[in-house]
Amino acid sequence: MVRGQPVANSSSEGRIVEEIEALIDELELLKGEGSVVLVIVNSRDVKEKLINKIVERFNANVVEVKRGQEIIDMLKKGENFEVLILILPDELTEDILNALNNYRELFYRCGFPSVVICNLDTLNKIINYAPDFWRYRGSVYDLTAVILPMKFSSLEEVGRFIDMCNYLLSIVKNDNERVRLLIELADAYVHKFAMTADENDLKVAEDFAEKALKIAEELKNEVLIKEAKDLLKIIRTYNSYLSPEADR
């Protein structure tokens, strides 16, 4: 079961809160059983909120995975906790992918559910390079929509927001603010694409995000560089959904 959609119709934060609640309910049901719940999340804030919620409710062991062996050790020896939370790194190594793929059955043999947290980019790697683990997964929760900082309930609202950002972009003097506005515009076009499924919107989003990245790099503003890159990753992932043959 894949809960939530990549982007479309999932931008409401109320929905995200519901998703977290649903995940907690599912973990309650899975208590004492081995299982894998995959959570896709891009925003650090949301990741922290999710982990805090789980830790509040369960005796959980949180592991920031650096090596594949850590996953194997935890699954083999872990006894004193109710939930294992594995946070996968942004750059997935072959060692970690192999551990997930080759030791997938351990997730079901141990006596606790495992919540595996990754971002959209690493999810793609898992699908391609740890296909057996992907096949063995239980539920998937998609919390990526929260990375999109704005919420829109209608096309009209997105349109108004885009007009406002374009206006502000025409008068802004501060370069860091210019980058922020470009990112917000890119983000708004991703939302628009989610509502219209018009590929042109995604193309416009990509153009804005690329412009933002270029200026952010010139400014050497690491925070904005990361934001622009994260958004570009999302846009390109959606692009790859639209034209999967482009990946082959």
Partner: protein
Amino acid sequence: MRAHDLVQAFKNFKVEPLKSEEEFKEFYVERPEQTPSPIEEILERLKLSDNPEKYLFLGFRGCGKSTELYRLKIELENLKEFLPVMVSIYELDVNDIDIRDFLVLLGIKLIQTAKEKGIRIDASVEEDFRDFLTNVSHVREEEIKTASSIGGGVDLFGLIKAKLGLEATTRETIRKELTLKITELISRINNLIIEIEYESKKMIVIIADDLDKLTRFVQAEDFFYKNHRLLTQISAHAIYTFPISLGFDVRFPHVANAFDDYFTIPQVPPFKKDGNIWNEGFKFYENVVARRMDLNLIGEDALKKAIMSTGKLSEFISIVRESCIYAHRRRDSKIRVEDVRKALDKLRTFYSRTLTEEHMEVLRSVHETKDARDRGVEDRIVRDLLFSLMLVEYKVDEELWYEVNPLLIPVVREE
């Protein structure tokens, strides 16, 4: 107006910061050059900087911080390139504030200041902020209508500001909503800044006063140590007052590094480190009195007693004010030393009641060594005594020393 009798003098010695240009013209006294106000330097830096600067502004209670910030505001208003926006947490519930409340207040103050100055705000930018606030505050259309029908021109922004200050439930709702949307709020504040700066052709300077008065230590810690990054994301020049007690924390350098600089406003000592009168400092206090009342309304020895027994601006002003009442009640036209002594005794009793033996030990040691340090990171006695003004930090030129509040020196000596 300079007082010619004690009744007017009593009115002139309000323990409140100077605010208006007229008050500054009448009452402001420049500090000695050895203990300067940092405002001139801040002003100079703002003029030279193209990018939004973020400063922390530190100073002990009652040393004249707010007065200096109002002076900065007036100086900025007189320059065509700046638009100062004053924000004070006293507009909220000072006992229960967190960074989210402050940021909402900041957004509202930006809009209100622009409106007061007749600066047009593009409808789309204002609407966007209005919609966002309506969503996070759950304020209903009917509430706004009811509030505006009562009168006083209360709009959504005024209503939310009032509710934030008065209603715990509104604060809880807004905080909960903003947990995941704080970045959105900051983006919207920055949108307002872009728009107002463009329309006014001025650079906004946010002056956040009274943040140093966050009542609980934990509250101040949460505000500055956990959330200071949010304050630096505001895309305008900003000066944030900072609780001096946190300035003594080992984490302070880490926080200070996130800002462009920090400035401390010193107390003006009327005496030197060795206890002898420091003429420039003494003269400063004398001028404060001379600006507010005829010097023949206070005896020379009474004035000296008031200056040397306080050594801190707001306490000095409050002692003279109190002395005015005592003299007036004696039906005298002049403050005598006995009036000052009476006022000092009253304040001294108030302080000394709270002193423990542990405090006394520290006070004795500071009075002897002119140095003040806690024994360990966990030890907070010195910091608490500084915060409650029982200890005072003085800095003249580059020489820094500590002294027991002059008011309490007789208590320490008696012991």
